[in-house]
Symmetry: D2
Subunit: 342 residues, 4 copies
C-alpha cells in the first residue's frame, strides 16, 4: 500500500540500504569507534563546519531530549511552538527525562517569533519561576512551512543578545535548505545545538545531535548513554549518515520530497473540494478535505486527519513518492467528486 | 578484522539482514502497527507463552531501564549482582531515568543467591530506606555462566513468597536455553518481566521487553515512548524478531555461539600460558592471559581485558565465529609462546 | 512594618506559637511518631472524615508536588489553571520531581471549567501524548475567587466519569469554607488528594497532604521522605495542626482574614483612583492602581504589583490584619489623591 | 520521657526558641529577604569565611541532595561511606531527585580513606560508567567518630588533585570542632559544599547549605525552590541560625553534647555487661548491650538498637542531656544486673 501518511511510512532509500548491507562486513568495534562513524563524523563536519560535533542516536525524540538535557539545568525552561513535536508528541519525555519545563508559544503557520519569545522571557531571577534558557524551533515546521533566513536571524540575534540557547529540531533539515536555496551552514550557524534527522529522510533509523559548545560536546557521550541512546552496533546508523552525505544524496532526497509536495499542491489546487491551508515549503501539504470522501480516499491512499474538528488533513510526500502516486490520488479524488458531487 | 571482542562486534546474520531487506517494501504504518510487528508479537507469544506481551525497543540498556521504570515506584530498590550490566555498565541510567536505587549484591561466578537477596531485604516499612521490590538477574551472566533451573526456581520462589518482582536481563537468553537444554518457557516462567536481547544474537539492533502483568502491559507503550524508545519505522526491528523466531534461527544462532565457545575453551585449555577462569556455559570464555603477549595477540584477534589487575581477559564468540577463527587464535598463541617462552 | 503583601508575611498566630512553645517539652520520637502528630491526625480525620489520611510536610510546593508524584505515573499529565501556583510558581518542580507534564488551561477569574478540561482531554491512548489523569484546582483561587459547590460538583462529576483524579491546592482551604458557608467535607468530598495549607493561615510553617486512596496512603510516607519532606522533629509542625483544629481556631483565622478582605474591598471602592478587579471571596483584593501613587503607597503599606502591564495590584489580608491597617491604607490613599489629583 | 534515642528527640534549645518567639513580630518579607536571614548570612560568613554563601533549607536530607544536585551532572557518581546517611537513610532521594549514582565505599569506624576513594575512581572517560565527580564524607561520622584534620587534608588533597568535589555532611559540624579543638574554617576549608546541620543541634528545624563556587551559588536558589525547599516564612529558620551564632551558643551546644557523651562513655565503661564499640569523639556512644536487658532499659531510657544481629546500640546525647540522665541510666543498668546477673 502507498500513500501520504508520513515520511516515516516510506521504505529505506536503496542507496542507504546498500550502505547498510555493505557495512555488514567483518567485525567492527561497537559504540561508535568504528570506521563508518568516523567517516560520517568527517562528512558532517565538512558540510556543517568543523565547529560541530555529531553524536548518533536512535530517534528524533531522543535527539530533542538530549539536546535539552545536555545543555540545560533542571530549573531552566524552553520556549517552543505550541504545535511543536517537543510540546505535543513526546509523551512528556522532555519533562520526565531532562527535568525541564516547556513554555508553549502561540505559533503562526507553525512558526514562533521574537515577540512571542519576548513574552515568555519573564520573571528573570525570580526563584519561583523556571528560568527561560533555550528556544527551540522546528525547521521546516510541523506545518510544512519554512522560516526564512531573515526570520532565523532575528530569532538568533534575540537569543544571543538575551543569553538564550537556540535549538533546532531539524527532522527534515535539508528540505528547508532546498526551499531556501541555501547551504547547511546558512541555517546551522544560527543554532547552538541541532537535532539532525535521518529517519524521515529515507533512513532505516538514526538521527544525529550536532553540538557546538566544546564543553558540552566533551560530556555529551555520557548523556547519550544515560539517556538510553548509545547504539551497540553504531556502524549501522553511522553508515547511513556517511552515505547520505555522499554524492549529495541528502540533497537529492530533500529535493525530490519537496518537488513532489509542490506537484501534489498543484493537483490539490485543481480538486474542487480541497483547499490548501498553508504555504507548501517542505514535504507537507495541509488541506481541508470533506468528511464524506475521507474513508474512501484513505482506503486507497492513506493520510492523516490533522484536526478532527475541521477535517484538515496532512499529506506527506517522501523520497519515494512518485508522480504516479500523485496522479492516482488526484484521479481518485476526481472520480469521487463525480460519484458524489459536493 | 575478526576477533573475540564482543558479540556486538559481529555482523548481522544474513537471514536477519535478508529479513530487513525484504521488509523494505511498500509503505508501512509507523510506531509498531505494521504487519512485521504483529507477526513478531505472535511468534514471541507462541514461543514464550501468550501471557507475555512483547514491546520492541532499540537497545539493551533501554530494555533494562524500562523493565524497572514501568514496574516500580521511585522509592523502590532493585537487588542485582555487583557485576551486572545494570549496576556497572549503564552510566547510572536506572537511577536517573527510573529514579530507583540499585542494591549491589556480592556475586559468585556472576550469580546471586537467595542468601544475598535475603541480606538486602531489610528495613521493610522503614520510610528512610528504599524498599526492596525487585530482583534482577542476568542469564547467562556477565561471566558466561548459567543459572540452573533449580537455582532459578529457588530465587523465584523466594521472590514470590516475599512479594518481590523478578526481572531477567536476557541479553543472550537462548544461550542459556542451549546450555540447560530447555525451552524458553522453562526459564521465562520464573520471571515477571524480561529484557530479551537481539543485538548480541546477530541482529542489527533491537531488543524486546516481555511484560507479564496485564496492567503494566497496558501502559507500557507510554513508558516506551517517554523513555525515548519508540522506533518510528518499527518494522525494521520487528522483522528481525519475526525472522529470528522462524525455522528455529534463534536456536541455531545460540547453539553455534555456544559450541564455538566450547571449542574455544578446549583450545585455550591447550595453551600453556592461559587459564580458564569460569565454567564456559554460554558464549564467553574468561581466561588469565600473560600481559606480555597481550598486545601481539590483540593485533590479530581483538578481545577485551576484563580486569587490568590480574590480566584476565574475556573472549566472546558469536553467531559468526568460525572454527578457523579459533584455530587462528590458537596457532597465534602457540607461535607467540615459541617466540617468547614463558 | 505592616502591609498587604502576603499572608506569608504575617506573624505566627499567638495560639499556634503557644502550641509550639508548649510542645517543647521532654523528648519525643522523631519522624511523626509523636503524640502531637497522633492528635493532629485525629483532629483532621474528625473534621474531614476518617477516609482521609494526613501527612505533614514543610511547604506548599511540596504538598502539591507530592500529591502529583504519589498518585501519577510519569506519562500522565495534569490539567490546571494557567494562573495556578503549580503552573507558574513552583520553578518547574512538578516536572522535575514528579516527572509529569502540566497542561495549562485558560482560566476565568482564576477558575477552570469542565469545558476547558474537556478540551485538554485529547489523544487518549495515543502513546505520543502525555495522558491526562489528574485535574488540579485551587480553592480559593490565586485571584481570591471561590468555586461554588455547584462548580466543584460539576468538575468532580466530570472527573469521576472520565477516570480523572481531582487534586485540590487548598493553601487557604477554610477561607473557601467561610465564603461558601460550608463544612470542610462539603468541599473535600469532591477530591482525591488535597494540599491543606497551614503557612498562609497563621502557621510558622507546615502543610498537610490528605490522601483518600488507601493504597496510596500506604506508600505515601516513602514518597514524602524521598521528596525531602520528612520533618525530623515533626511535633513542631503537627502541634500547630492540632491547635489549629482546636476550639475552631481554623475558622476564626479564616473568618477574620475574609472579613478583613471584605472591609478592605469596601474601602478600596471608596478610593476614587482604585478599581476592584475580581469578586472578593477569600482574603485577596485585586485592584487597578495608578502607577504614580505606587511607590509612595508601598513605602507605608507593602503590597505586590500583580501585573506590571496594567498595574493591577494584589492586596492580601491575613489573620493579623487589623481595621487599623485598612483605615491607614485608606487614609494614605486619600491623602495622596489630595496631594496629586488624578 | 527522656532518653538517648536521638538528638532529634530533644527539645528546642531555650535560646533558639526565644529567637523564634522574638522573630514573631511585624510583617516580614517571605522567601529569605528578611532581616533575620540577612543577619544569619552575615554571621555564617563571619565564622566560616566570606567565600561561603549560605542557603537555608528544611532538613538534612534536602541539604545533602541539594548539595549533590546543584553541583553535579546526572552522569556523575558520588563516593560515600557504606554507612552514610546519604547511602542508607535517604530512601533513594539522591538517586531520584539528583539523578546521580552513589558508590558505597567500605568504611572503617565510619570513615572512608583515600585508598577506598581511589578504588572507586575507575573507568574515567568510559561512557558506560557513571563518572566519579564527588566525594561525600560525614563529620562527625554516623558512628560518632571524627576525621582528624590530617585525614581530612589527605582526602581533600586527593580530591583536588583528581578534580573531585568534596562534600561535607555536617549535621553535627561543631561537635567535630569541639573534638578537634579547632575553628570552623579549619574543617570547612577542605570542602566545596557543606550541609550544615541545625536540627540535631537544638534547632526546631533548619539546615543550611554552604556553597563555595560562586557560579553554583548564583543559581542555587533555583535548585532550592525546585527541590521543594524554599521556606515561605524563612525568618523562623534563619533566626535560629542567627541566634545559634551569637555569643558562641553553637559552641556551648556542641561542647555540652560532647562532654555528656564522654561522661556517658565513662559510665558505660563501668557497666559490666556493656562494651564500648567505637571511640567516642562526638555525641554518640555505641556499645554492645545484652538482649535480655534491652526491653527493660528502653522502657525508662529510650535508645536505638543499631544492629539487630549483634545487639549493638547507639546512645545519643544532645544539648539537653543532663548528668542526671546519665546517672539514671547507669543506676538502672546496675540495678538490672543485680536482678538478673549475667
Amino acid at each position: 500500500m502507498r500513500g501520504f501518511g508520513s515520511d516515516n511510512h516510506a521504505t529505506v532509500h536503496p542507496e542507504l540500504l546498500a550502505a547498510i548491507n555493505e557495512a555488514n562486513i567483518n567485525h567492527a568495534p561497537s559504540y561508535g569507534t568504528d570506521d563508518w562513524t568516523e567517516s560520517a563524523n568527517k562528512k558532517i563536519k565538512s558540510i556543517f563546519g568543523t565547529e560541530w560535533q555529531p553524536f548518533f542516536v536512535f530517534n528524533g525524540t531522543a535527539a530533542n531530549v538530549l539536546s535539552l538535557g545536555s545543555h540545560l539545568e533542571s530549573f531552566h525552561s524552553i520556549a517552543c511552538a505550541d504545535v511543536s513535536h517537543l510540546n505535543v508528541d513526546e509523551c512528556g519525555a522532555p519533562e520526565k527525562i531532562a527535568g525541564v519545563k516547556l513554555i508553549s508559544l502561540k505559533s503562526h503557520l507553525g512558526k514562533i517569533s521574537v515577540d512571542t519569545i519576548e513574552e515568555a522571557r519573564i520573571r528573570l531571577g525570580d526563584q519561583h519561576f523556571s528560568q527561560l534558557k533555550m528556544v527551540s524551533i522546528t525547521q521546516p515546521t510541523e506545518l510544512g512551512t519554512v522560516y526564512s533566513l531573515e526570520e532565523l536571524r532575528a530569532i538568533a540575534s534575540y537569543c544571543q543578545k538575551q543569553g538564550l540557547l537556540l535549538h533546532l529540531d531539524g527532522t527534515r533539515f535539508f528540505n528547508a535548505c532546498i526551499n531556501l536555496d541555501c547551504e547547511a551552514p546558512d541555517i546551522a550557524r544560527f543554532f547552538d545545538v541541532i537535532s539532525l534527522g535521518g529517519t524521515k529522510n529515507g533512513f532505516m533509523m538514526g538521527e544525529a545531535v550536532l553540538v557546538k559548545n566544546p564543553e558540552r560536546a566533551k560530556v555529551f557521550k555520557f548523556f547519550r548513554k544515560q539517556y538510553l541512546q548509545l547504539p551497540s552496533k553504531t556502524r549501522f546508523i553511522s553508515c547511513q549518515f556517511a552515505r547520505y552525505f555522499t554524492n549529495e544524496l541528502y540533497l537529492k532526497i530533500a529535493s525530490h520530497s519537496c518537488s513532489m509536495a509542490k506537484l501534489l499542491e498543484q493537483r490539490v489546487h485543481e480538486i474542487p473540494f480541497m483547499e490548501i491551508l498553508y504555504p507548501v515549503e517542505s514535504n507537507a501539504v495541509f488541506a481541508r478535505f470533506p468528511k464524506k470522501f475521507l474513508k474512501k480516499m484513505r482506503e486507497k491512499y492513506f493520510f492523516y486527519v490533522w484536526d478532527e474538528n475541521d477535517f484538515s488533513v496532512r499529506l506527506m510526500t517522501s523520497w519515494d513518492t512518485t508522480e504516479h502516486d500523485i496522479k492516482g490520488f488526484y484521479n481518485q479524488a476526481v472520480e469521487l467528486t463525480r460519484e458524489a458531487p459536493l
